[in-house]
Symmetry: C2
DNA sequence: AACTTTTATGTAAGCCCTTACATCACTGTA
DNA sequence: TACAGTGATGTAAGGGCTTACATAAAAGTT
C-alpha cells in the first residue's frame, strides 16, 4: 500500500534524496547523466511525489479555490470550465465550491476553501453592492493571506484583483439602441442587487437621461432568473405596458419571450427583447435572442494572466474592465 | 506568516500536542474540562489544522476527484453542483477536472487528479462503449487504489461502482409512444458511441423490432451536440424524410426544432420531437420540448450514498440503475 | 494494603518532502 | 603550488500532524 517514496528512488538511483528532489523540481543544477538516471528510475517505479509532504515543505500545493454561486448557470459554467482548463495548463488544480448566491453562504464557502491552503482564490460572479462593509470585509481579510481574484465582482482592497465586463456601457448602448428605434417604454428586468446589476441599471437609466427621457419606476421589475418564473411574474402584471425589454440575464429575457407568446404578443413586432450573457438559451429560444456577450472567456483569461504574473512576482493592475459586444439576433429586428 | 500550529495551541492550553490532536479529531477520550480548554484556545487563536500535515499523517485529505467532460453542459453542471454540495456536507472537498470528451484526455485527467491522493474518484458522463479494453483498463488500475464511481458510465471491475439512468428503457418507451401515435419514420439523432448512447440506440431499435417495424439505417444520424450544428446537418440532408425525432441530447433536439422552423415544417403538427436530459434548453425553445428526465440528481445522490457507505466500511452494490421519466411538453402533442 | 483496571495524558517515531548549509572534487588563476 | 571559484551532491533540520506505546493517576477489587 505504501507507495514508492523519495527514499526508494534515491536508493535505487544510488543518489541522495536531495538529488531526487532536485530532479523532480528541476531546481538547481543536476548533472545530466544523474538526472537521466533518476528520471529513469522514477519512471520505472511509477514514482509520484507525495503532494501532502510537498505541500508541507512548500506550504503550497499549486491549487486555486474557485467559488461559484451556481455552476448550472451556463455563463458561470463556461467560466469555471475555462479557468479550470487553463489553470491546469499552469500546473494548478482547482477546488470548486458551489456557494449559492447567499452572501453568508459565500462567506462560509470562502472560509472552508481557505483551509485547504490554496494559492489563490477566484470568486466568480458579482458581489452584493449593498455597500455594507461587513459583507465584504472578510474578503479583505482573505486577501491578507492570498490574492483574491474577482470575475465580474468588485471590491476595493489590497491584494484584490477584479476583472469585470463593462456592464454599464453594454446596457447603456443597448438601451440607446432601443431608444433610437423609437422605444419609449423599456422594461428593465433584474434579479439582484449585485454590483454588476447596479451597473447595468445605471446604464439603463443614464441612457434615458442623456436622451431626455424619464426613468419610470414602474418599468423596473425584479424577478428571479428563471424562464417560467419570469414569464409568470410578467403574466401577473396585468396593467404593465411596455414596448421592449432589457433583462440582466438571458433566462429572464427568454421568460419575457414566453410571456409574449402566452399573451399573443409578437416579438420582435410588438416588443423587442434584449438579454445578457449570450448563453445557450439565447439561441435555443424563438426568435433567437439579441443579447450581450459578456466576454466570459476573455475575463477569465485576463484573470489568469494577472494571477500568473502576480505569482511570478510582477505587479499587476487591480481593476480590469472588458468591453462587451451586443450580439444582434432576432428579438430586435426593427 | 507561519500560522499558529498545534504546538502553539498545546503550549497555550498547557497540554501536549497529542491531546490537541485528539480534540481536533474527536478521537479517543479526552477529559471534558481539558477538551473545553483546548477548544477555547483554538478558537481564540483561529487555529486551523494544517491540511498538508494532516494529509501526510492520515494519507487522505478528504477530497474527491470529479472528472467531467464538459461542465458547460447543463446536465453535467447540475451533477457537479449536486455532488459538490452534498459531498461537502460530508466534509469532502472536490477537485474538478474538465476533461473534454476525448478518451485519451480523460485518461490524462484521471492520472493527474490521482496525484492529489484523492479518496475517491467520480467520473461523470458516459464512457466509450467501443469495447476496446485499453481504453478502460486504466480505470481498473485506478480502482486498485481508490474506489471509482461512474455516473452514467459503465465499466465492470473490482471497486468500480456505476450508477446509471436506464437509458435503454427511456428511449424504448419514447419510441414506442411515437410508434403508437402512428409515426413510422423516427429519426434517431446521436452524437457519440458512448455506452449510454448505445443503450439508447438499442432502446430505439428494440422498440421497432418488437412492434414488427424495420430499423432503417438512413434514419440513424450522427451529429454534434449543438443546436446550430444539428440544424445545419439536417438542412444538408435534402432527401431525408422523417415524421419524428428522438435525440440523445436536448441540444440536438432543439437543433431539430430549428431545422423544422427553417424549412417551414410545423412542430408538433408535422413532426414530433423528443429530447433527452430535461436541460434548461428544453423549456427555452418553442414549442417546449418533450424530453427524458435522466434523473441527474437522483443518480448523484445514489452515488454519494454508496460512496459514504463504502468509505464507512460497508459493502455496496456495483451497479445501480435508475428509471427515467418522459416529461411531456409540446413537441409531441399528437 | 496490594493488586488490577480504567482513564487521561504525554513522548516520540513516523509520514515524505524541501532546502540551507556542508562537503568534495575539479578548473582556472596567480 | 596554493587557493579561490564553480559545480554536483550529500546531510540533516525542519514542516505540522497522527498515533502506538509508555506512563501516571484514579478507581475498583479482593
Amino acid at each position: 500500500m505504501r507507495g514508492v517514496n523519495i527514499y526508494d528512488i534515491a536508493k535505487l538511483a544510488d543518489v541522495s534524496i536531495a538529488t531526487v528532489s532536485r530532479v523532480v523540481n528541476d531546481s538547481s543544477k543536476v548533472n545530466d547523466k544523474t538526472k537521466e538516471k533518476v528520471l529513469r528510475v522514477m519512471e520505472e517505479n511509477h514514482y509520484t511525489p507525495n503532494v501532502f509532504a510537498r505541500g508541507l515543505g512548500l506550504n503550497s500545493m499549486k491549487t486555486v479555490g474557485l467559488v461559484c454561486p451556481d455552476v448550472s448557470d451556463n455563463y458561470m459554467a463556461k467560466a469555471v470550465a475555462y479557468l479550470e482548463k487553463n489553470l491546469r495548463g499552469y500546473g494548478y488544480d482547482c477546488i470548486l465550491y458551489c456557494s449559492g448566491y447567499d452572501e453568508e453562504d459565500k462567506r462560509q464557502a470562502v472560509e472552508l476553501i481557505l483551509q485547504k491552503r490554496i494559492d489563490a482564490l477566484v470568486l466568480i460572479g458579482s458581489n452584493y453592492a449593498g455597500g455594507r462593509d461587513e459583507e465584504t470585509s472578510y474578503i479583505n481579510e482573505v486577501a491578507g493571506q492570498i490574492p483574491v481574484f474577482m470575475i465580474n465582482g468588485y471590491i476595493e482592497g489590497e491584494n484584490i484583483y477584479c476583472t469585470l465586463a463593462d456592464d454599464y456601457q453594454a446596457v447603456y448602448d443597448a438601451t440607446e439602441e432601443l431608444i433610437f428605434a423609437g422605444k419609449r417604454r423599456i422594461l428593465f428586468l433584474s434579479n439582484s442587487e449585485s454590483f454588476s446589476a447596479m451597473q447595468k441599471r445605471k446604464g439603463y437609466e443614464d441612457a434615458h437621461k442623456n436622451h431626455g427621457l424619464p426613468v419610470l419606476e414602474e418599468l423596473r421589475l425584479y424577478t428571479e432568473n428563471s424562464i417560467h418564473g419570469t414569464r409568470d411574474r410578467l403574466l401577473l402584471c396585468r396593467n404593465l405596458v411596455f414596448d421592449s425589454v432589457i433583462a440582466t440575464e438571458d433566462g429572464m429575457a427568454v421568460g419575457a419571450l414566453k410571456y409574449a407568446r402566452a399573451r399573443g404578443i409578437s416579438v420582435p413586432g410588438e416588443i423587442s427583447v434584449v438579454g445578457y450573457n449570450n448563453s445557450e438559451l439565447s439561441i435555443s429560444c424563438e426568435p433567437e435572442l439579441t443579447t450581450v456577450d459578456a466576454r466570459g472567456e476573455i475575463l477569465c483569461k485576463s484573470a489568469i494572466d494577472s494571477m500568473m504574473s502576480l505569482l511570478g512576482g510582477e505587479k499587476i493592475r487591480q481593476k480590469t474592465m472588458i468591453k462587451c459586444h451586443l450580439i444582434k439576433r432576432h428579438t430586435t429586428d426593427f
